[in-house]
């Protein structure tokens, strides 16, 4: 493992896969996601599909919260807007999944920007409250049957067989859904990794760290905050539309404040502001939830009600040990191994 900086060009230093060990690990890991549906059972594939959907949503949250520092408590609402709008495009117009995802993402981005407008004057908890209002407005809106002419109905089924565009390239089985959602996730992970190493993410992080000095350095703070809302909102909206395809129906109960908090836990646990942190956080929380539930079920059928307690303790322990999340802890281990057997 290299213990110094050996890059001979700036291009090399900016690369996503920079070391030989990383290249080998990447090549070895590459086939795994493609083999999983043929090796593991349906339960594992379903859980992975859920992880992929939430990775996109939490990466969107990471852009708004982790990069730009805006506390947005409307994750559930954003996903609901993406889910309901794409369901109308898919089920009623028959336009297909890709147009549905794009419309869902764009509409969510627009709503996110509108609810980001108060950031012109306020920040921190005030923004949190304004977006929390969106969460409750959205739930009221989607539960209101009199507004079905807009959202298409409070509870709707998503067709099991849907083409990517119109009737072209139909997706129907769980395995096909898995590969579709895997592909979309890879696209968003790459896009976010790319974003994180450009000036756009640096400017977002600058605003997050210190908006006063950002303005002195020539950053239009308000405009860049809105850009973060738009990018993050788009991603969360697309995740919402994929989530509706994954669970096969849309229902306001799937997009409550609990979903928002769950995504916050995922991001905080994995490591806020880091793409790999978000991915690790989503995977860790989803797997831990599943394992804790299975463990509790072995003792008593109603013991699963204790799941939040176990889960809460786990989060407190992790954050007490490493507040910057699992990714920071892994970074420390990597640093230790890099320098070993020396201390520095």
């Amino acid at each position: 493992m290299p213990c110094g900086e050996y890059f001979t060009s700036y291009d090399d230093r900016m690369g996503l896969i920079r070391w030989r060990t990383e290249r080998v690990a990447f090549l070895l890991a590459l086939p795994i996601p493609f083999l999983i549906p043929f090796v593991l059972g349906g339960g594992a594939v379903s859980m992975l599909t859920r992880i992929f959907v939430f990775v996109i949503a939490v990466l969107g949250l990471n852009v708004i919260l982790g990069y730009a520092g805006e506390i947005v408590l409307a994750q559930g609402a954003f996903m609901a807007i993406g889910a309901y709008s794409s369901t109308r495009i898919v089920a009623e117009l028959g336009a297909g999944l890709i147009p549905g995802m794009l419309v869902g993402g764009l509409l969510t981005a627009t709503i996110a920007v509108i609810f980001g407008l108060p950031s012109w004057k306020v920040k921190g908890f005030y923004i949190a409250i304004s977006t929390l209002a969106l969460q409750f407005i959205a739930l009221w809106f989607f539960q209101n049957s009199e507004l079905a002419f807009i959202h298409g109905g409070s509870q709707q089924n998503v067709p099991r067989e849907v083409g990517l565009i119109g009737d072209f390239a139909t997706v129907s089985t769980a395995t096909e859904q898995y590969f579709l959602i895997l592909t979309v996730t890879v696209i968003f992970v790459l896009a976010t990794l790319n974003l994180s190493r450009t000036g756009i993410a640096r400017v977002f992080r600058g605003i997050h760290e210190n908006d006063l000095s950002s303005a002195v350095l020539g950053i239009n703070v308000f405009k860049n905050k809105l850009l973060a809302y738009a990018i993050g909102g788009f991603m969360i909206g697309v995740a919402g539309s994929l989530y509706s395809i994954y669970i096969g129906f849309v229902d306001p109960g799937s997009y409550t404040i609990e979903l928002t908090l769950e995504h916050y836990v995922m991001l905080l646990l994995g490591g806020m502001g880091r793409v790999w942190g978000a991915i690790i956080g989503v995977a860790a929380v989803t797997i831990a939830q599943d394992e804790i539930r299975t463990l509790l079920r072995e003792y008593a059928a109603d013991a699963t009600t204790l799941e939040p307690v176990f889960f809460g303790v786990l989060i407190i322990v992790v954050l007490a040990v490493e507040p910057k999340g699992i990714i920071a802890g892994l970074g420390q281990i990597k640093d230790y191994l890099r320098k070993w057997p020396y201390a520095y």
Binding site: M14, N194, G199, G206, S213, A215, L217
Partner: protein
């Protein structure tokens, strides 16, 4: 009475701006700034010529930082006050617009991005000057990649110039104050400013650190033609480096001119020592 204290010389010290603010590299005309009943700046007019090194001094509460905040756009002057940058009236421009027009600023309280390393701090400012469009950033292909490489090359030049290379990957919060002040300067230089406002850049520094800071600033002023406006309490540094001084007291200008004349002015002495 010494020859320096003749009525004529004293009149010069209280006369108007050395350069008309409307034609100065940085100037302000009739700037008053009040906060409720407190007048922090009282009818201040200053003109700073291109390539000059000017120091603004005064006791605590004289209105120096308020004036700096008005100049860089944090505060709007009260009605009638005007701010000029390179001959252009920028009174209506907000801070970020003035920064993009070439007005850099450092902070007494060091408003750095504490959790980022030195390289990222400077790269952030560079990103303001040259940044890819969204599609190019998301794809990180050709144009976007080339731009980021070019930005990194330029930032490394600034880091080398300010002798910060050994701290490049250190988190800013972990660095000593002297190095943090240098990072603040590096970050502002990445903006490629024409005029640099320094808010007590020597505050808290050791003798060696002050020497280094002055060395960098003198080089920037003499060889790069950077106009420097410095708020400073250390009169020894001020008189050594400044071409002109402006003395503020209770919000108003009480003296201006070359350091020798200003420091010998009885009113200035009285402000600093309480003795005529």
């Amino acid at each position: 009475m010494s020859t320096q204290d003749t009525p004529t010389r004293r009149a010069d010290l209280r006369s108007g701006p050395h350069v008309p603010p409307e034609r100065a590299a940085l100037g302000c005309r009739d700037v008053t700034k009040t906060f409720g009943a407190v007048t922090a700046c009282d009818d201040v007019s200053i003109g700073i010529d291109d390539g000059e090194w000017v120091s603004i001094v005064g006791p605590n509460g004289a209105g120096k930082t308020t004036l700096l905040n008005v100049l860089n756009g944090f505060y709007d002057p009260d009605t009638g006050g005007r701010i000029f940058l390179d001959g252009e009236d920028v009174t209506a421009d907000r801070a970020y617009k003035r920064a993009r027009k070439g007005l850099g600023r450092t902070f007494q309280g060091l408003e750095l991005f504490d959790d980022e390393d030195v390289l990222e701090n400077v790269m952030t400012t560079q990103a303001v000057r040259e940044r890819p469009n969204l599609l190019s950033a998301l794809l990180f292909y050709r144009g976007g990649r080339r731009l980021e490489a070019e930005n990194m090359r330029r930032v490394e030049e600034i880091i080398d110039y300010l002798e910060l290379w050994e701290y490049r990957h250190d988190t800013v919060a972990s660095l000593p104050l002297g190095i943090q002040r240098r990072v603040d300067l590096a970050r502002t230089l990445a903006l490629d400013p024409d005029v640099l406002l320094l808010d007590e850049a020597m505050s808290g520094l050791t003798f060696d650190e002050k020497y280094d800071m002055v060395r960098f600033l003198a080089d920037l002023n003499e060889n790069e033609g950077l106009t420097l406006v410095m708020i400073e309490h250390d009169l020894e540094v001020v008189t050594d480096v400044s071409e002109r001084m402006v003395v503020l007291n209770q919000g108003g200008v009480v003296a201006r001119g070359n350091p020798e004349d200003v420091t010998n002015d009885p009113e200035v002495r009285n402000i600093y020592t309480g003795v005529d």
